[in-house]
Amino acid sequence: MKLKPTIYAQLLIDSMDSKTDTKKVAAGFWRLLQKNNQYKDLAKILAEVEVEYAKKEGKILTKVFSEKALNNAEIADIENKVAAKTGQKVIISNIIKRNWAGIEVVIDDKVIDLSAKGRIEKLAEKLRT
């Protein structure tokens, strides 16, 4: 039976809450996806898990896209700044993306593009108008 990614996400979070071994939970979850032939949806499900987990924790999920993995100091810095902007606790999810340099921050549906690629695209847009 096929299920929506949000349902899987909720199921996974609930399973993690129990005191069971996380490796066993992960293995069982993967078997379930294979059985339902939905293992291709894993990326979507994990994205939903992040969102749902952040909600459950009363925090706001912030996705930070960068050319290479940010270090802890950089993540902490971003976390503090986003928390100051939103007035909420923040969970940072660092995602690797080819943007040459800089960062792209997504808070809910708000995008702050400070990447080199984004800046060039903005410049191109200005030139077009």
């Binding site: 950089e74 400070l114 990447s115 080199a116 060039i120 191109a124």
Partner: protein
């Protein structure tokens, strides 16, 4: 009477003769001639009356003909005047329509020219921006060192 040499008998005979002659003339000559003359007079009178009537009629006909001719002239004038007026109005309408059409064509041409100019400008801008993007992408994507990339990332975090 005989003394006077008058023959009474002869006179009576002459009177009788005269009476007979008068009677006969009256019956056979006078009345037909009188009737003939009366007929002739009647005919002449009738002819005169007819001629007079004909003259009158002809005069009336001439007046009527004049009236008709005058009316026809007036009507023709009126028609001509109306036709002229209509022709003038029609000519004015044609000129107006032609002028409007010319204005429309000019406006369309201007609009097309403006659109064409705008499109050319937009195309040029797009082309320039594409060139800039390609050039900058090439420089930033391929030419930046790790150190420069790290600096840009740190700067971005500071700007947040």
């Amino acid at each position: 009477m005989e003394v006077l040499g008058i023959d009474v008998k002869l006179i009576i005979a002459q009177i009788v003769n005269f009476a007979i002659l008068f009677f006969l003339l009256s019956k056979l000559l006078y009345k037909p001639i009188t009737g003939l003359l009366e007929d002739r007079q009647t005919k002449i009178d009738k002819g005169l009356k007819d001629a007079e009537k004909a003259a009158k009629d002809r005069s009336g006909a001439e007046i009527e003909a004049e009236k008709i001719a005058e009316k026809a002239y007036k009507d023709a004038n009126e028609i001509l005047k109306n036709a002229k007026s209509e022709a003038t109005a029609e000519a004015a309408a044609i000129i107006k329509k032609a002028s409007e059409q010319a204005d429309r064509i000019m406006a369309n041409a201007k609009s097309e020219a403006t659109l064409s100019k705008e499109k050319a400008l937009k195309d040029a801008k797009t082309e320039i921006s594409d060139v800039v993007v390609i050039a900058l992408s090439k420089i930033v994507g391929d030419e930046l060192t790790e150190e420069q990339k790290n600096k840009l990332t740190s700067k971005a975090i500071m700007e947040l």
